[in-house]
């Protein structure tokens, strides 16, 4: 084995390195400052994410990124850059949405932001992961930080419960994933995805390999909360502090999709016939169960948890449609849309949340239109988008996914997805009805600049992608694996 490390490798890793350094700095500051100056820490975290974004933009212009770095462990292709941008977007939104929430909580904020940034570093690496080991390590960095974030309100039993459930089930699924990775390594003897693909191209089906692929799939399906690996989702989403929930519903999922797509598109494409059927079944079950279970919820966080399960099912259509570029595009544009609309919806809950867990029951949305018309209208926009109604981002996302599914010959799944979208209208519009049609508390809504900014960004994103999608679609076109 040769060690081919170049100085340019570090250059291409600048975003990740910078974010790690800032995370460490925040950790140090958190003990130095204690519970004071948390606004400054939030500001610092925001600026760090912003600079990291600039670094990603800088990396995008470098010609050296054509070749994989650090001995093939990571690759900085357009696909990775898209996901990095998406991860940083959700990270920035989370930091902004957390400022007021964390400031009001009796726990030190520096650690919170540091953990967020570490989790972000993990996700940035996941987006680039090009080797079974590097993917796994990046995933664990993200996951371990997430477990702690879930239990961040450590005096709240619900938060602790969420953290414990997340940790135990998460660790179990990581174990399953690792076992799958080791079996695939055992079958192929190489770690890099391109090498694996080359090797598997001439390999024949073997039970060992199939078991490995299925275990990897199971491990990753857990991370995106697909049925039957979804049971942790509602409890974790309900118990975690709401900004963390918002973060969980987009960031880790986005990153998990990045590696799911990369592993299955690059390495296992040949055995599509074997895993395609499983993914199709999982997708169908996820859409049905997520939507039907969401119907029964009266807690908005749980409802959105099930809705995010259902959305994971839609996005799996993109994994199935991998034979045409539509599948990949579908995943990318849908996740972009999903980040805006889902994060926006969660931010509205944060806005309603004054103390403790208010804002979580559907009835807390009663009469929101009276209290603040803009808030109600924006929430409606997010709900419409989640339901996939034009002209919103969610519609464009579903458009791509359904096209991908039909082009790949999964018309029955597309039909199921549409029927389930109709079902989803029931629960999304329960919130809409509560906001506009019923009377509620007359209390004025208190917002902050940071929260307003998050909501505005999400609303603009949701609407602009829906009305003038062209520029985004141009970007998508260039997002092909390995370039």
């Amino acid at each position: 084995m040769t060690f081919a490390f170049h100085a340019s490798d570090w250059l291409l890793l600048a975003p990740e390195l910078f974010l790690t350094a800032m995370g460490l700095l925040l950790l140090g500051l958190s003990v130095a400052l204690g519970k004071t100056k948390e606004d400054f820490l939030a500001f610092l975290a925001t600026v760090s994410v912003g600079i990291t974004g600039a670094l990603v933009a800088f990396v995008a212009t470098r010609p050296e990124r054509a070749t994989p770095i650090l001995g093939g462990a990571f690759v900085v292709d357009n696909f990775a850059l898209f996901f990095k941008a998406l991860v940083l977007l959700s990270l920035a939104l989370t930091v902004l949405a957390s400022a007021r929430y964390v400031g009001a909580a009796p726990y030190p904020g520096g650690e919170y932001y540091a953990l967020l940034l570490f989790s972000g570093v993990g996700m940035l690496f996941m987006a680039s992961g090009n080797n079974l080991i590097s993917i796994y390590v990046a995933l664990e960095l993200m996951a371990l930080s997430s477990y702690v974030l879930a239990g961040y309100f450590k005096a709240e039993p619900k938060s602790t419960e969420a953290a414990l459930k997340y940790f135990i089930l998460g660790a179990f699924s990581s174990g399953v994933l690792l076992y799958g990775l080791s079996l695939v390594y055992g079958a192929g003897g190489v770690m890099g995805l391109p090498e694996l693909a080359k090797l598997l191209a001439s390999a024949s089906r073997s039970n060992l390999l199939m078991l490995g692929i299925l275990l990897i799939l199971a491990g990753l399906l857990f991370k995106i909360a697909a049925v039957p690996f979804h049971v942790w989702t509602p409890d974790v989403y309900e118990g975690s502090p709401t900004p963390v929930t918002a973060f969980f519903s987009v960031g880790p999922k986005v990153a998990a999709y990045a590696i799911l797509a990369r592993i299955f598109y690059v390495a296992f494409a040949k055995f599509h016939a074997d895993w395609g059927f499983v993914v199709a079944l999982v997708s169908a079950a996820t859409m049905v169960l997520g939507n039907v279970a969401a119907l029964l919820q009266s807690n908005v966080k749980r409802m959105l948890a099930y809705s995010s399960i259902a959305n994971a099912g839609y996005a799996l259509l993109g994994v199935l449609g991998f034979r045409t570029e539509w599948g990949l595009w579908g995943i990318l544009i849908y996740l972009l849309a999903y980040t805006f609309m889902n994060f926006g919806a969660f931010t509205l809950i944060i806005l309603l949340e004054s103390k403790g867990y208010a804002g979580e029951s559907v009835s807390d949305f009663n009469g929101l239109a009276k209290r603040s018309m803009p808030a109600a209208v924006v929430m409606l926009l997010f709900l419409l988008s989640l339901a996939g109604i034009p002209p919103t981002a969610g519609f464009i996302g579903k458009y791509y996914l359904f096209t991908a599914a039909m082009k790949a010959g999964y018309a029955w799944l597309a039909i199921l997805a549409v029927v389930m979208s109709a079902v989803s209208l029931f629960y999304y519009f329960r919130i809409a009805a509560a906001m506009f049609f019923t009377e509620g508390s007359p209390a004025k809504l208190k917002s902050s600049y940071a929260l307003s900014a998050v909501i505005a960004v999400c609303a603009v994103g949701t609407l602009v992608i829906g009305v003038v999608p062209q520029p985004f679609l141009e970007v998508l076109k260039s997002c092909v694996l390995g370039r």
């Binding site: 239109a369 996939g388 519009f429 506009f436 049609f437």
Partner: protein
Amino acid sequence: MDALLRDHLVSVVVFLPLAGAVLLLLLPRSAASAARNIAFGVSVLDLIVSVPLWTRFLVGVPGFQLRERIDWIPQLGITYNVGLDGISLLLVMLTTVLTPVSLLFSLTHVEKEVRGYSVAFLVLETGMLGSLVALDLALFYVFWEVMLVPMYFIIGIWGGPRRIYASMKFFLFTMSGSLLMFLAILFVAIRHHTATGAWSFALEDLTRMTFTGRVETYLFLAFALAFAIKVPVFPLHTWLPDAHTEAPTAGSIILAGVMLKLGAYGYLRFALPLFPDAAMRFAPWLGVLGVIGVIYGAMVAYAQHDMKRLVAYSSVSHLGLVVIGIGAFTTMSLSGSILQMVNHGLSTGALFLLVGVLYERRHTRELDAYGGIAAVVPVTTALFLIATLSSIGLPGLNGFVGEFTILLGTWLSPHRWWSAAAATGVILSAIYMLTLVQRVFWNPLVVEENRKLTDVRPSEFVAAATLVVLMVWIGVRPNDVLDRIRPAVESLQKSVAARQVALHESARPEISEVRR
């Protein structure tokens, strides 16, 4: 400005209300009367702007006129592609007339959240007009969905006691239908892409595709379901009485006047030309459902105690007649159906409006709460009577022309018995409508409160009288309308017939696609 009106007249008509809605959003929320007046003013302005559509439309020329085409999402082949033929022209005019009429009525009767109400109506108008002029299926779908949301709020916020239930039911019914249509649109577009290598959602491009067998049947059913829910065709009509009963008067006028027509319009514009073979195969079923709708709607209407519910069920019955005309598919029956859509918009719109007038004074719509008020409110009575007569098809008024054309056209088709059955529906409608008039306006005056009823206000009178004038106009000069419909109908029939011949002459492989 002149250039804008000359080259982009259709777009101006479509988006003017939306611009008005945006303007209203800039107003403070408390500026209720300003909001009212601006909304009404914008809708009147839109009516004025739409008149040149009528005058500049070339009579007797088939095909679409006043076309505009701009790329919207080139990557997906989605264009902003609009234009008018006789069918859409009529319905566009109906929309631009009914919107100011309903807003005029609302000027005096809506107090809650006036700004939101006005915004909802203007957005609704843009949605309806857009759906009527769109010649790109994706664009059509977008407008079609845009239309639903404001109506959901109009029923849900400004409606009656069971408004939340009614609005949810309305929304979920129509939305579930249209989602399947969306999938069918996507499927057709993907087929077009596989066949030609280019993405397009334009109606002209997609009608060149040919589908056969099961595929065509499924696609057709997906489209037909969406439109049948909207019409509504029996047995998918159950959302309609609830929606009408709970909707505010102006909402009912628009719902019955325009939105229901969009179901039949969509069927004629998209489902028929895209899937002619399946449409022809299912036409007999459509006719039978129409017959059931006519008779069932009439009988249920007769049993109602609530005036608004009665008028709502009469809509089910009248639209059944329209469906029969479409099912029969002769030039005459189709023309009659299209004319009858307009007639129904006018007469039912007027009926809902006048029921609203009474309701605003007595706050009840129970038939038994009225009786003998003809002497108390003579003008209301006269207007109501004219609208009723129009609705039941008295010669000299618009309803007669439409019904007669449909019945005659259907008689000339292979399905004569539909015509006979539909005729009974016409008779039944006379029975229940005249009973309604009798019980409300004539019978002895027993409820003392009714003596203090006040007659129509000027604004209400203008609103209702506008509709009455149009009823008389169409009744006296039906050819003004029919001349504009006929070329559109003939070209529709020609294209369906041509494509059916082509289909049956070709070797009929399981999936055949026209390659250009």
